[in-house]
Structures are given as structure tokens and as C-alpha cells.
Symmetry: D2
Subunit: 337 residues, 4 copies
């Protein structure tokens, strides 16, 4: 940690800061520059109260040097971890593909979707039973009934089931039916939920919050890892920016950036990341080219009738064509799909 | 709702869209423009599946006309609602002031803080017992023990207690000790928590998510109102932007905008909104001038020793000076404080 | 254009709005909804004063229906235009590659760079002679001397020269030496410069401003097209968001979005778009996969000694490896490179 | 400047970096931490090539310690500078008020506006003659004819004239008629224009670019100061964020932040900052409360007929009421108006 003192900070301020730094168990190195004094604090700066030093007298700013996460760090494990859950593998040479409707609407819809996405090459089925919805007047999902339909679809196709869990008290129930617990973007910093998933033996797909920094996403993952669950996949699904032509802005540089910083595998969601079906295929191809370890794609038998997210859902035919196109790109980057 | 058809959409596409609109219970008006055909759908467009129409053939975009919220709307109640909870009143001529430390750290700290902020004119005490923290390695709060200390501070001073609840299963427990349940920014779209607060008889302070739109905040409030709890205060605490000199960007135009659109009273948090103690007083004054119904301010006996948020906390003296300055501004806008 | 009236707008307000709409040469259609009245204005809404109608009595909002640009529109020309300038072709089956240093520093540097990027497969040379720099204390470029060095490098290699022009009075001079005039991100809305480039016979590479919407970029292109110059390439180079791990956020969905809306070809700049050399190759591959018609890449003989942008510049070897990797992706999307 | 080395950087990398730092004229201090080595470079880090060191082997990141601007710094002059131009004074105890239409449309309009705003208490007249417009099809201003009308309005009222200059070649012409040269948001980084204004003897109002950081704004000011013109006012006019309810997001914390960092006075533009007339008064009051040294406000005889920006323009009566309201707030913060 580097403490930059204000121009004109007094010796008393500097001495005070040295004692503060030392009281946190760190070693203080004082450097007198031409314009400012800087105090470099050596040691594990991931301790409580470090940022509060900005309110000490004569301090201009406090700049951390170390990444705030540990277990998620690439320094802890210098290759991409492979997460397996039933038919789904993410993090190896093959790109995992999770596909299916936004919401489970009825058994026919989810089973038909499972069959179609499997035929096209998907390795897991997505479908929401517990739906976090912006408006209380929107369809909230079929809940346990929906989970049962997902299990039926798995029985029919062998596809692993990925479904969202929105509250800690549901983790066990959802875990009974699902192979992968999805933590949605709005819950990325729902710490009680992260802790409950940390205690689960199910793999977790952690979606990035729409304004979360990558450090915050990695710290959210750290909650799960720290709870004892090492089966964590990260998911970039777009961030909120001034751009209004797409529903979110999908920053694919996240993929290589995370591959440098963490061993956790990275999935991309081009459906939410664009919000328009017509843009999904090109962004899926780009995701694979950027090195994504997995894709998660919304597919619906009839998008215009979908109870949620129809505008960004693919038909079965569109998804099949997307898979063919992505497979060629995967080969061009030495992956399979 | 306005459905804009693509240039060159066929009559078949238009007829199909008319039938889709009518199947949602809306009346379709077709307008043939010089370049495009537009279909205006008349009726209550707040129904499931409206946005999915964007995936129908020949459709360019779907533009809603009505606000998506109802009970929170100013149209439902054309004056600012007054929320009362113990010593705190927000929404009337007097500006409510909630002040205290970020976290309850020990009894002496919270009682001393309560006394100091009351002496300076605060009308409620803030202090976190359950702390949502970005890192699992940070101080997580004293939990029920902290709630008891808050109750002690209320007993000593008469100040209403405002404290955060981070999970639905804690709502009853927190409600036993607190006068106001605070829903933090990271939980603004934790719908299970919103629903639990909707069933509580305690007033709720709902903080804006750092990338939530104002419509999303009003829909989050709608969950609480729809659950039967009408005692809701909204809180602007800053949004995430490219600006890095301040921790968040505090958009005060939120205040008059919300006063136009909703009857719920509006509180501003200049501590989180700036992230630097030195900027808090000016932004508190600006908040009052912009018409805020309340302020929430972080105050700590010794900010540099704070277990959280010291960099944005005021000392007792700084808070006292801030109150004096704000009181003058309040009078200049015909409010008291 | 759709004018949404406020709830409770009077008949007088509605009549007034009808006359206003008609005074702009548009036809007014009044639709009485269950909650609000809407006036659909039919005709070419790209006229002065339309947005000012929002201040008329009883008006809630004015929503445009038509895109504001015309000549740049895909509706004006329904396939991607091919721009040719010397050795560079952008918009056809082959992906154009513009590479070279941020700034021309001396003749040896630019000639060596030109040879190296040509050997690796680049089809044009980039290099700045007039440098717009954030700080007045930074290297401002070699100006005409730099242009001459670029011309020498072209003579040596046959590569077309792409270089930035920062002021209207320099357009003729730069056009004497360059094959393509680059308009930098900071000048995207420098209208006098756009007009001067519109009068030039040189092709133009128009970079997106860091917070420009895509409509604003297309309107900037419209200035050039409207001036008589149809040789315009658009360039996505990243936008400014809350993300701080990368210097800008590179939203590749821009590529397919622009291909839907405009006939102008689209180039991507992953060097500025990421700001870190280690992320450039993966984002170049992703750009090609997303359908980019061209790439522009910073390459320097010795990045750590670069007078500008060293942190995002590739060495010759890194660029050669990037080209090989991108070529495979190009083939996977039926392009050459 | 602090250079953070990667974990596992070799001694050779460290030695190389020391020599690079020294070759820039800085002194290198090596600090071996528990996890990483850090090199603190002492001296004036505002030299070319510093950021390029990020591409040296073994380097993780380079963090500047010093602000990049000098002449604009508060450290250079520790009180707010007072800028005077005719009837306008900005930076003293009195809050300067610049008001008038977005565009000069005809002599009657600008003279009537000047009289009305003067009667209400404005101390300068605004009005655009050269208009930078997003679309080439929008009204581009009356140019020199408009400047003459502004001069007539000054003759009639005595109000100083503030008007925009959009190209370096116009600086002399505009300076003949205007008291203050306004540099618009889109031209904040038009360096040739900044340099031309630096050579002018007219005061300059420099507006913040919609995605410019405050460091970038201060460096833009530095270009003008460095050119010899010390009469610079900074103007916050809102930044671009995900927020769509207001046209821009007006971050008033800019005011106290700039007052800490620079001696240049700060003006706020709540008209552009909100984009809606109904929000302007509250934000003007908030600006004054936050410590703004000046306001710039759009006022039009008939906003719904305005050729530009009618939606955010006030009528004469609205402006008069705003002035009365702001004056009370000014007094509450010990200013006059």
C-alpha cells in the first residue's frame, strides 16, 4: 500500500501515519520526493481499516498495491481450473455451451428446448424456475414445479441443468434438482446467498453485476471459495454504460483479463450482453475467439411468445446455425465445441 | 406502447403484429408514415410478454409509453408522502437527518455517536450491525449484538434507529430493534428481501443500486408497496460512472426528478455519494437546496480508526458544522432542519 | 415522431400540439389511450425544432421514430461499401490491417515498422505526425517532418499511409502525404474538421468518440458524406465506462449493430480499446470473429521506449503472431487476411 | 511514480527497470514487499514515456503520484482566481450569472433576452452564433451576423457577451465581438483551438467534455494557461452515464473537488446538465449551495419555438423566479447574487 501525503504535510502528520501503518502490522518506508512524501507500507495490506487511513491528517490518498482477492487469484493456481457438473465441462479444451429458455414455462417447452439444444451441440440446459424480475407485475417463474420440469428434461436428454437460485433458503432445494447453481447479476453481491452457495456441493455459475468491477466479481467468487466450494465459473454478461442501442455493453476484454488474473474459468452470455437476437451469433463467435471457456445462450421454441426475454432469444434453427458458426471459430483458436 | 415496424415490413408482418397486440388485450392503431409503419397499442401495456414482441417478424423496436410502476407513481398520490418512524420524519417541511457510524463497533462508540449527532440536530441514528462487505476478509458487523447496542443508544437519546437488513430471514429480528429497515444499494434488487420488507410494519429506507435506473428503483419500491408496507423512503447514494475522483457520482437531479414522478420522499447520502469527507458538507448543502427530504451522513468518533468507511466519515465537530451550514440552506428553501 | 402528453393534459394543450406539429410540416394523428393521449406525427421528422416541442404545455416527452442520419443509413445502400486507398481495402472479403507506431519518432523507426508490419501481412501503415495529447507537456508529434517520413516509408514498402489530421487547416497538407485521413476520437464532433474532410478526395477513417453514441458517430459520418466524400470508414476504439482494468471498454457488438444500420465499413482498434498489449491479440481475434472489416493496431520496434502509447503497442514478433492467429479466425468466418 | 513489479519478476527485470527510471531523470527506490517488489521513482514524473514503462518486462502497473497539471493547480496559487470580463465577475463573493438563448436567432430575440435576463439579475449574456450541431441538418447558427446581434444586445444592456468559438481560425473574429470565448464540451480536447484561445486576450469559459475526467479538463485548461492566457473559467455541464431520465448527469461534487485541486473558478450549467426545464431551478440552487462561482442558464422568449435546446430553456418568468430562489441560497452560503 502506498500512502501519498499532501504537499506540505507536517513531520507530525508523517510520524502519525508511520505509527498508524505500524499499528496495522505493516512496515513503513518513508520516501521524500521533490513535491510530496510517500509512505510505502510493506506487508499484507488486506486488513481492516486500511482505507480509513485516508482520513488521517495530511493524507492525500491511499493506493493499494496487492489484489484484494487471494484464493481466486491466478497466483494461487497458475492454470485455468476445470469445472465439471454432469454433462457440462468448463475450463478445458472444449467450450461448454449452456442453452435453453430464459424461464421454464411448461414441461413441453423445456423438454422440446432441451432436445433441440442438445441436438445442436449444447452441453447443458438453462432455464429459470425462480425468476428475479424488475417489476412485481412480471412473471415470477414456476418455482419448485419448474425445477421438476428441468429434472424431467435432464432425464430425457442427459443434459446437466443450470438454473438460478435467488435466496439462501432455496439453495438446498435448487441443489436437489440442478447440477449448477446460477447466481444472477443482481445477486452478485448478495453475500448471504454467496455464503450458502459456498456450503453447497453443487457447481456455481456466478454472473457479473451490471456495474461490478472485476475485482468485486473476484471477491464475490472468493466468498464461495472461502466457504469451501471450489467449483466456481465466472460469467461476463455485460455492463451498464451510456450505450443504449444494446441493452448492456459486452466487454469481451474481460475474458483475457480474467485469464491473466484468476484460475476460474470464464463463460460469456451474449444474449443478455446484447439484448437483441440479431447480434447474438456474432458476439458468440467473438466470445469464443476471445478465449471464452463457455457460452450461455437463450433459446426458445417461439421467442415472440416467451414470458421473458423473447427479444434476445434464438429459435432452434438460429441456435443450430450459431453452433455451426462458433464451432469453426473454436477450431481456429484450438478449441473444440 | 408503440411498435415501430422495419422499413419494408410486409402487410403480413403488420397483420401478424396487430393480432399479437390484440392477443395481449390491447387495441391496435396502425399508422402508415412516409418511411415506416407504426402500430400504437392502446390499453394497459404493463402485461407480460410485451417486450418479446421485438422478436416478431418485421419489427424494429417496441417503445413503452406508460411508466412501469403504479403505486409509487405521483399520479397515484399527488403530494409527497410523509414517513414517520419514532423521532424521524421524512417528507414534511422539516428535513430529516440520519447520522452515525457506518458500523456499530462497540457500545461506547455507538452511544457517544448518538449523543453527538443528536446534540448537533440529527433526528435519527444510523449504524450497521449486519454489514454487506465486498471482501470476505473485511469486518462483517456485530450482528444481533450490534442491534442491542443500537437499542441502547436509542434508549439513551430517544433517536430512532436506522439499520441495514441484508437477508429476508433477518427482517423480523432487525425489526425488533430498529425503527427503520435500510435496504442497501447492493440489495436493491434482492426481491425476496423486498418482499419480506413489504410484510414488515417497519418503515423502509431503500437505497438506489449503483447502476439502477430510476425506473428500476421505483419498481423495487413497488415490490414493498405491493406487499402492504406504504412507509417507504427512497435514497440516492450515487451511481457508478467513469469518474474516479469521487467513489461514486452523486446525481442530485434525481431529487427533483423523483419529486415529479413519485410521491415517496427522497433522502440523499452524500457520504457514499462522494467517498471523501472533505466533499460531504458541500454536497449535503446542495442536497438540501435541491429539495431533499432527508440526509443520511456517516459520523464516527475517530474516522481514521473506523472499521469501515473512515475515509468518508465526519468527526463530531465536522458534523456539527455541517448541520449549522445546512440549516441555513434549508431556511433559504423554506424548510427547517 | 411520437408526442406523449401528460396525464391530464387539456384539450387546449392537445389542440396546441396539433397545430405545432402541423406547423413543422407533419401530419398529426391523435390517439386517446386509457391513461394518456399520444400524438403520432407523420412525415420527415428530421426538421429543426422538433425536440423543442417538449417544452410545450402538457407534453411529457417526444420520442423520435426515424434514425436521424440518411446518407450513412443501410436503407440508403443495402450492402457494405468498399473503401480503397492505395494498398488498403476495407469492406470486402479481405480484412484490412492498418499497423504501425502511435507516433512517428524518426525515419528509422517508421521505416523499420513499415517493413515489419508489411512482412507480417498488414495492408496499411499507421503513424501519427500531428498528435493530439491530453497534456501540453507531452510529445506533440513531428508534424510535416513526420509526414515526410511516412511518405518515405510508403515509398519503401508500398503500404498506404493512414495518419491523423487534427485541424481543418491541415487537411490539404496531410492529404498531400497520406492515403487516409484519420479523425481521432477527440475530434469526432469537430464539425469544421469533418466538413474539411468532406471536401477532401482522400479516404477518411472516423474514430468513435469515447462517449459518443452510435447515432452521433453516424451523424458525424453524415457530415463527411454530405460534403461529397463517400470514402468513409468507421472505427470502434472503445468507450469510457466505470471499468478501470482496461483503459477503455471495447464494445464489439458495435460491429454487427453498425452492419445492420449503415453501409459504411467498420474497423476495430483493439490497442486503444484495451490499453494493454497483453489483451490486444485476443481482442483482435474477437473483432475479426465479430465481423470487423478492418483492424488498426499499434506496433513499435521497442514499446518501452515509445514516446506515446508504449503500454498498448506490440513488438514486431507479437504482431506477427497476432496476424497468424487472426488469419485462422478470418478463415473461420469466411474472410481472408 | 510507483512501478509495481509482477510477482516473480526477476532481479534482471528489476535492474532493467531501475535503469529505465534513471534514464528518465528520476531516482529509483526499490522496496521488497512480502508479495511484490515496488519501485518508487522520485522526481518530476511529468515526462514523456513514463506510461510506456508498463511494457517493460516484469512490470505489472505504473501508478502516477503527482497530478499531471501544474499551472492550473491549487498548489500553484492557493485561492480561487477571479476572472473579470466586462460586467461579468466569476470567482469572487458574488456568483456570476450568464443567461440567454442557446442560439442567436434574430436581433429582436437576442435583445429581448438580454433585457429580460439583465432585469432578473444576470451579469452576462449568452447566445450562440457558431453552433456545433450533432446533425448536419440542424440549424448551424447565424455566424458573424449573430455576433453582431450579440454586440447590439451588449450595447443596449451593458451585459458582457459570452459566445462559443468552434475553430481556431475564428478566435480573432469572435474575440472582436465577445467578452468571453466559450469552448464547448465537444471541443474540450480540440488542442489547436485551446492553443488559439491561449493566445487571445479574451477570457475563456472552458466546458467539460461529456466523458472527460477532471484531470483531462485541468490539462485542457493548462493548454490555455500555458499559452499565456490566465483568464480561464471551468464549467461543469454534466457527464454521460447510463442515466437516461436526464440528458446528462450533473455531478455537483465537481465543484468542491475542483476548489480543492485548482485555483480556477467553477461555473455550473444546469440547463445542459439536466436537459429538462423543470429540473433547472432546483439544480441551479444546488449548484450555488455546492459553492459554484457562476451559473450559465438557457433562457428563450418562447422555448417551444427555439431553433435549438428549447426543452431545457426557461421563459423569462421562470428565469426571474429562479434568480430570486438562487439569491436566497447564495445568501445562506455567504455569497451574493
Amino acid at each position: 500500500m502506498i500512502v501519498v501525503m499532501k504537499r506540505g504535510a507536517s513531520q507530525k502528520d508523517i510520524d502519525h501515519m508511520i505509527s498508524q501503518v505500524e499499528s496495522l502490522g505493516l512496515k513503513a518506508n518513508v520516501l521524500h520526493g521533490t513535491e510530496r512524501t510517500v509512505i510505502a507500507a510493506i506487508g499484507d495490506e488486506r486488513v481492516n481499516g486500511v482505507q480509513s487511513l485516508e482520513s488521517s491528517p495530511g493524507v492525500d490518498s491511499v493506493m493499494p498495491v496487492l489484489a484484494p482477492y487471494k484464493m481466486a487469484s491466478r497466483e494461487a493456481h497458475d492454470c485455468t481450473s476445470v469445472v465439471k457438473a454432469g454433462s457440462l465441462t468448463v475450463g478445458g479444451a472444449s467450450v461448454g455451451v449452456i442453452a435453453g429458455p430464459c424461464s421454464v414455462e411448461d414441461e413441453e417447452q423445456i423438454v422440446a428446448s432441451a432436445r433441440a439444444v442438445k441436438a445442436a451441440g449444447a452441453t447443458a440446459l438453462r432455464g429459470g424456475a425462480f425468476k428475479p424480475r424488475t417489476s412485481p407485475y412480471s412473471f415470477q417463474g414456476l418455482k419448485e414445479e419448474g425445477l421438476k420440469m428441468l429434472a424431467t428434461a435432464r432425464d430425457e436428454t442427459g443434459l446437466a441443468v443450470v438454473t438460478e437460485v435467488i435466496a439462501p433458503e432455496d439453495v438446498d432445494l435448487v441443489g436437489e434438482y440442478a447440477d449448477v447453481l446460477q447466481i444472477g447479476a443482481r445477486n452478485m453481491q448478495n453475500y448471504r446467498l454467496l455464503e450458502a452457495c459456498g456450503r453447497s456441493h453443487r457447481a456455481v455459475l456466478l454472473k457479473r453485476g451490471p456495474s461490478a468491477t472485476l475485482d468485486e466479481m473476484l471477491l464475490a467468487a472468493e466468498y464461495i471459495l472461502d466457504g469451501g466450494n471450489s467449483q466456481v465459473m465466472l460469467c461476463e454478461r455485460g455492463v451498464r454504460t451510456f450505450e443504449s442501442h444494446t441493452r448492456f455493453t459486452l466487454p469481451l476484454a474481460t475474458v483475457p483479463y480474467l485469464h491473466e488474473k484468476t484460475h476460474l474459468p470464464v463463460v460469456v452470455d451474449p444474449s443478455h450482453g446484447t439484448g437483441h437476437t440479431s447480434l447474438v451469433t456474432d458476439m458468440a463467435k467473438a466470445s469464443v475467439a476471445a478465449g471464452a471457456d463457455g457460452l450461455i445462450i437463450e433459446v426458445h421454441p417461439c421467442p415472440e411468445k416467451a414470458k421473458s426475454d423473447g427479444y434476445q432469444s434464438m429459435t432452434f434453427d438460429q441456435f443450430d446455425a450459431m453452433m455451426k458458426a462458433c464451432r469453426r471459430v473454436a477450431e481456429a483458436v484450438d478449441r473444440t465445441m
